[in-house]
Amino acid sequence: MRSILLVVAVAALYILHQDIWFWRSPYLVFGFIPIGLFYHGVFSIAAALLMWLLVTYAWPSHLEREVEQTKPREDERA
C-alpha cells in the first residue's frame, strides 16, 4: 500500500509539472516574481519533500545487505 501511494505521489508531481493553469498569467507574486516562476520554485521544494518520503519509506536497504553479505565471501577468496 505504501509503495502504491509513493508511485501515485511521483506520478502526481510529474503531472503537476505541466501547469497549464498559469501558462498565460503575468501575475507577480510579492510584486516581482512571475507566478509561473514562483510555482516551479515551490514545485522544486515539493520534489525535495517527495524525495525525503522515498528515502524514508522506500529505501532499497536489501541492496546494502547484499553488498555486506558479498564482502566476507570475497575476503575469504582473497
Partner: protein, 537 residues
C-alpha cells in the same frame, strides 16, 4: 582587469586543490584509486561533487541566456523537471549501480552491460556512442571558459586564450589528481556557485534599485510575454521532462555513483538535489529575464536590437543572416554584463569565479572518458594483462591530454550557443540511451541484441537530427517550417530553435522508440544464461 585577476587566483586555487590538497596515492598507482578514488567518498563530498559534476556552464550562462531570450519558461523547462527526474533516477538506478559496482568491481557502465548481457563487441559499440556524445559536453566547458574570461576581462583576455587556460587547468588537476582531485575540486566549486546565485541576486537587485519596479514595468511592456509561457507550446514544455533522463545515462554521473563509500550517502544527494537546483537556477533565470529591463548596458541593448530585427525582418533574410542575428541576440554572457554593470570590481571578480566554477564542470566528463577508454577498450582488449595496471593509469592520463586538445580545437570553431549545442546532441542522445539502464537493472528478459538496437537507434537519431537541421535552415521567429505533414497533422517541422516531431522535441520519439526497440528485440532474441541473470535479480 581586477575581476580577471581574481578569477586567475581562483584557477590557481582549484589547480592546487586538484593536484596536491587531497593526494594520497604514491608509488605504483592502482586504477581503482585513480579512476574511482578507491570508492571512498564521504557524504558531503559525494553530494556536492555529484551535483557539481552535473552543473556545467549551462547552469549559469546557458540558463540566464535562455531566460533572457525566452523568459521564465527556462526554469520549468530544465530546472524543476530536473529537480524531480534526476534525484528519482539516482534513487532508482544510481543505488543499484553502486551495489553492483561494490559486488562485482565494475568501474564503468559498459563493464556492467558486458557482464549483464554476456556481450563483448556490443559493449564496445555502446562505448563508442557514449564517448562521441560526451565530447560536446566537454566542448561546452571550454567554450564557457573562453566566453567568461573574455567578458570578465573586458575583452583583454581573448576567447581562444581563455578557453586554453580553462582547458589547461582542468587537464592539470584531472591528470594529476584523478577522481579524488576532481571530486574535491567539484565540491569546492559547488559550494562557490551555490553562493553565487544569492550573491548575484542581491548585488544586481540593489544595483537596479529593487526588482519590483523593473518587473512591473515589464508586465506593462511588449516584453510581458517573457513573464509567461504564452509563446511556448505545452508539447514543447512537456518534451523537456524527457531531457533529465540523460543525467543518469551520462557515464560521468554513473561513474560518480560508484565512488560512494556507503549506499546511505545517496540519501542526502537524493533529497537535496532539487534544492541545490533551485538555489542556482532560480536566481539565474530571474536575472536573465530582468536583464531585459536594463537600458544602460550597450551590449544588452545590441542583443535586444538584434532580436527585434530578427523578429520583424527575419522572414525576408537569408538563413546565414538569420543565424548571425541569432548569435548576436544570444544571451550567454548577459549575467556577466549585469555583474560588470552593478557589482564592485572585486565582487565581480569573486562572482566571476563562481561562474568559472560552473563552467569548469567538464573535468568529470574528461575523467569519465579516460576511465571508459582505459577500462572498456585498453583493459578489455588485453592491455592491462600485457602491460600492467600502472601502464593502464598512464594510458588514461595520455588520453586526458588528447581529448582536452581535441575538445579545445573544436571549441575554437563551434558557432552554436552553449545551450543549443548541449540540448540538441548530448542530452537527447543520452536520454535515448537511458532504456539500457532500466532494462539491465529491472528486466530479466532484456538481451544484448536489444541493447545493440537501442545503441544503433540512438546514434542514427542523433545524426538524423543534426543532418536535418543542417539541411533545413531555421525559420525566423514565428510559425515553424512544416517539412512533412500527414492527413493534416504536422509530422516533422523545423522550428526556430530546432526540430519538432508531432509538436514534440525529438527527444520524446527518441526515448520511446529506444524503449520499444529494447522490448521487441529482446523478446525475439536469446536471453543470457540463467546463472548470469541470477547475479542481478
Amino acid at each position: 582587469m581586477i575581476p580577471a585577476i581574481v578569477v586567475f587566483i581562483y584557477l590557481a586555487t582549484v589547480l592546487y586543490i586538484g593536484i596536491f590538497a587531497f593526494r594520497r596515492s604514491s608509488g605504483r598507482e592502482k586504477a581503482e584509486d585513480y579512476f574511482l578514488a578507491s570508492r571512498s567518498l564521504g557524504p558531503f563530498v559525494f553530494l556536492f561533487s555529484l551535483f557539481g559534476t552535473n552543473m556545467t556552464a549551462f547552469a549559469i550562462l546557458g540558463s540566464s541566456g535562455h531566460a533572457f531570450s525566452n523568459g521564465i519558461v527556462t526554469f520549468g523547462l530544465m530546472a524543476s523537471s530536473s529537480g524531480l527526474v534526476i534525484p528519482l533516477t539516482i534513487f532508482l538506478i544510481g543505488t543499484r549501480v553502486w551495489a553492483l559496482g561494490k559486488k562485482y568491481g565494475f568501474m564503468t557502465p559498459v563493464q556492467m552491460f558486458r557482464d549483464r548481457w554476456e556481450c563483448s563487441h556490443i559493449g564496445t559499440a555502446i562505448f563508442v556512442v557514449q564517448a562521441v556524445l560526451l565530447v560536446p559536453y566537454i566542448i561546452i566547458g571550454i567554450m564557457g571558459g573562453g566566453t567568461t574570461l573574455y567578458t570578465i576581462s573586458g575583452g583583454a583576455v581573448p576567447y581562444w586564450f581563455g578557453g586554453a587556460i580553462v582547458a589547461l587547468v582542468v587537464m592539470g588537476y584531472v591528470f594529476f589528481g584523478g577522481m579524488r582531485g576532481t571530486a574535491w575540486v567539484n565540491t569546492f566549486q559547488t559550494v562557490l556557485f551555490l553562493c553565487f546565485g544569492a550573491a548575484a541576486l542581491i548585488v544586481i537587485g540593489v544595483g537596479m534599485g529593487g526588482f519590483t519596479t523593473a518587473a512591473q514595468a515589464m508586465q506593462k511592456s511588449p516584453l510581458a510575454y517573457l513573464l509567461t509561457r504564452e509563446r511556448i507550446s505545452p508539447y514543447y514544455f512537456f518534451s523537456y521532462t524527457f531531457i533529465p533522463l540523460s543525467a543518469i545515462a551520462f557515464p560521468h554521473i554513473l561513474i560518480f555513483c560508484l565512488t560512494a563509500q556507503k549506499m546511505s550517502q545517496f540519501k542526502k544527494t537524493v533529497i537535496f538535489y532539487p534544492l541545490c537546483i533551485l538555489a542556482i537556477w532560480l536566481p539565474c533565470v530571474f536575472l536573465g529575464v530582468m536583464a531585459n529591463r536594463v537600458a544602460d548596458v550597450p551590449e544588452i541593448r545590441a542583443k535586444q536590437e538584434a532580436r527585434r530585427v530578427l523578429a520583424t525582418q527575419g522572414k525576408n533574410m537569408a538563413p546565414e543572416q538569420r543565424d548571425e542575428l541569432r548569435e548576436q541576440s544570444g544571451g550567454d554572457d548577459v549575467i556577466m554584463l549585469l555583474l560588470q554593470r552593478y557589482a564592485p570590481l572585486w565582487l565581480a571578480g569573486l562572482l566571476g569565479a563562481g561562474i568559472m566554477a560552473a563552467v569548469m564542470a567538464s573535468d568529470s566528463q574528461i575523467l569519465a572518458l579516460s576511465t571508459m577508454f582505459t577500462e572498456d577498450v585498453f583493459a578489455f582488449y588485453g592491455g592491462k594483462r600485457r602491460f600492467g595496471e600502472a601502464v593502464q593509469v598512464q594510458t588514461g592520463r595520455l588520453f586526458i591530454i588528447i581529448i582536452t586538445l581535441v575538445a579545445y580545437a573544436v571549441a575554437l570553431r563551434a558557432p552554436e550557443t552553449i545551450f543549443e549545442l548541449a540540448i540538441q546532441y548530448a542530452f537527447s542522445g543520452y536520454a535515448a540511451l537511458s532504456p539500457l539502464l532500466v532494462a539491465a537493472l529491472f528486466w530479466k528478459g532484456s538481451t544484448k541484441w536489444g541493447a545493440l538496437a537501442v545503441t544503433v537507434w540512438t546514434a542514427f537519431a542523433v545524426v538524423a537530427v543534426a543532418v536535418f537541421q543542417a539541411a533545413v535552415p531555421a525559420p525566423a521567429p514565428g510559425p515553424a517550417t512544416v517539412v512533412w505533414s500527414l492527413g493534416g497533422a504536422e509530422v516533422l517541422t523545423r522550428t526556430p530553435g530546432g526540430t519538432a516531431v508531432f509538436g514534440f522535441m525529438p527527444v520524446v520519439p527518441m526515448v520511446i522508440v529506444s524503449a520499444l526497440l529494447m522490448w521487441l528485440v529482446s523478446l525475439a532474441t536469446q536471453k543470457p544464461a540463467r546463472s548470469t541473470v541470477a547475479r542481478y535479480f
